[in-house]
């Protein structure tokens, strides 16, 4: 099975994408001269904690689409599905530190964790105040007792929105870090996919890294083309929504009276048409449980190339988190309200 793509030489995919992105959004973003790091034009911003993230390419709008006002300051851009290098992350940290310190947020993947660790060490050696928070919201990837093994998935977007707002208010590094941890601890996600993605490796496309039978789907799917945890026959949108929401609700647990933000995240080739059908069922489930929805985001926020699938992310809110998530924000690929 070969998945076709509109690319030139496969080895130039990410660099060419970056060039195009810069051309389209040069009013907001610039690239460091000697490093594949994209930085907010105004960075470093006096009196504001710098916000750095990074990860593999192939997840658009993540990560670079979130660089902007009341959002992120710098992003280290890795190869497709691969962690950026420690040097890139270190360069990103330096580029947005105005003296108030830098918070790094990353998904729980061994490559990213190792490279961020080294970069943070290097930056600290130079006297830069840096902290990091590792996101691990994916219920599908490990049981609750092994939460430290869970992947970071779409929940990271909610973290970015919250810290973007908190940092913009002039909060200290410790305060911004606490918000990142609070959102992470109160967020749970779960995904499903029925068709794979392919890393561009040949002319005109690439082979998917897993195949599913014609009527199969996979629950607990990953964001890098790695298959998930349980494979089964396709079900209806309502049934699948129940299958994903139930473990998410149980895991925190979310309770009657809770207020939540909802993120329905398309993984790349799932239509908005489908996502609204899913959201319809989700609202019924939450109403039934006495859980109210303060904010909802439906669309593509953290994709996996052209994977056919979606994830549901719920975050339990308190007054402060709700206020932060509702703060206006503007970036090339994310706008609120």
């Amino acid at each position: 099975m070969f998945l076709k793509k509109f690319i030139n030489k496969p080895e130039n995919v990410v660099d060419e994408m970056v060039e195009g992105f810069l051309a389209a959004h040069s009013d907001v973003v610039r690239k460091l001269e000697t490093s594949r790091v994209l930085v907010r034009k105004e960075a470093p911003i006096e009196g504001k904690v710098g916000l750095v993230t990074g990860g593999g390419s192939g997840h658009k709008p993540a990560f670079i689409g979130y660089i902007g006002e009341n959002l992120l300051d710098a992003v280290a851009v890795g190869d497709i599905f691969a962690s950026p290098s420690a040097k890139q992350i270190y360069d990103a940290i330096k580029a947005c530190d105005s003296g108030k310190g830098v918070l790094c947020v990353l998904g729980n993947y061994s490559g990213d964790v190792m490279n961020f660790d080294m970069a943070v060490e290097m930056a600290r050696d130079e006297g830069i105040k840096v902290e990091q928070v590792i996101i691990n919201d994916d219920v599908g990837s490990a049981p609750k007792e092994k939460k430290e093994n869970r992947r970071g998935v779409a929940g990271e977007v909610v973290v970015w929105k919250a810290i973007g707002a908190k940092a913009a208010k002039g909060a200290s590094l410790e305060e911004v870090k606490e918000i990142a941890e609070r959102v992470n601890n109160n967020t749970r996600s779960m995904g499903v996919a029925h068709s794979p993605c392919a890393v561009p490796s040949k002319m005109y496309g690439g082979e998917p890294t897993f195949t599913l039978g014609e009527m199969e789907m996979e629950i607990g799917v990953g964001h890098h083309g790695e298959p998930g945890v349980k494979r089964m026959q396709m079900k209806t949108a309502d049934e699948i929504t129940e299958m994903l929401t139930e473990p998410v609700l149980k895991d925190l647990p979310f309770e009657k009276g809770d207020r939540v933000s909802v993120l329905i995240n398309g993984l790349g080739s799932t239509s908005l048409l489908e996502m609204y059908i899913i959201y319809r069922k989700l609202t019924q489930i939450l109403e039934d449980k006495g859980i109210s929805i303060a904010i909802s985001w439906i669309g593509e926020f953290f994709t996996s190339l052209e994977m056919g699938g979606f994830s549901i992310t719920l975050t339990r809110l308190d007054d402060e988190l709700e206020e932060l998530l509702k703060m206006p924000a503007r970036a090339p690929l994310f706008r609120y309200p």
Partner: protein
């Protein structure tokens, strides 16, 4: 000259890894996202760009420079792990211009420790450690038996190969592939394979003409 020998070994490594790129990508596609061949070949190609930095350095310094480039400029899990292996090996070879069997053993032990510490893996987790550790053990063994350097290196190379092959039946416990659990059985680990090819190339180059 030490550095010119090291540079020629690096060139050989790049050549071999480029030749093995498809195979390594395929191994990685089985249990990951299919890019390990490209990543590790690119990593060493990048190191070659630092050729000038290696001039006049002894073996220990050269390995640390190579390691730092690998660790900081590669990305993926490959960079930090290979980088740690070379840096820690290099630390054991301070001032050396020629290597004895004892030096080789020290270097490999260093590499094993570096990878263990950085990657938080154990032998048997289905990683490059399963290639490096048997090699280190084999060298220790050869020292005890009083074998010649050449004999010891050839034995160590075989031990590394068997270590790589042993990863086939292991269940992955570290890294992205660990998410797949039992599904990783029946597939050789790509990092174990690439580290074998790197070590095989180094040993072959060092023994050339002996």
């Amino acid at each position: 000259m030490v550095s010119s020998k090291i540079v020629s070994i690096l060139q050989e490594i790049v050549k071999v890894l480029e030749g093995k790129q498809e195979e390594l990508n395929r191994l990685d596609a089985n249990i990951g996202d299919g890019d390990h061949g490209r990543t590790v070949a690119g990593a060493f190609k990048n190191v070659l760009k630092q050729e000038k930095e290696l001039e006049g350095k002894d073996i220990g310094e050269a390995l640390q420079i190579i390691g730092r480039t690998l660790a900081f400029s590669t990305g993926a899990a490959t960079g930090p792990l290979y980088g740690s292996a070379f840096i820690e090996a290099g630390k054991k070879l301070k001032g050396k211009e020629k290597l004895s069997l004892e030096d080789w053993k020290e270097a490999l032990s260093g590499a094993v420790e570096g990878v263990k510490r950085r990657g938080k893996a154990e032998v048997g987790d289905k990683t490059m450690l399963d290639t490096l550790y048997p090699m280190a053990k084999s060298l220790e063994d050869s020292i005890e038996k009083g074998e010649s350097l050449k004999e010891a290196l050839l034995k160590a190379k075989d031990a590394a190969k068997r270590g790589m092959e042993s990863t086939k039946e292991l269940v992955s416990k570290r890294g992205r592939s660990s998410r797949l659990g039992e599904r990783t059985k029946g597939h050789i680990d790509p990092g174990a394979a690439s580290s074998y090819y790197v070590i095989e190339t180094i040993i072959k180059s060092c023994l050339k003409g002996e």
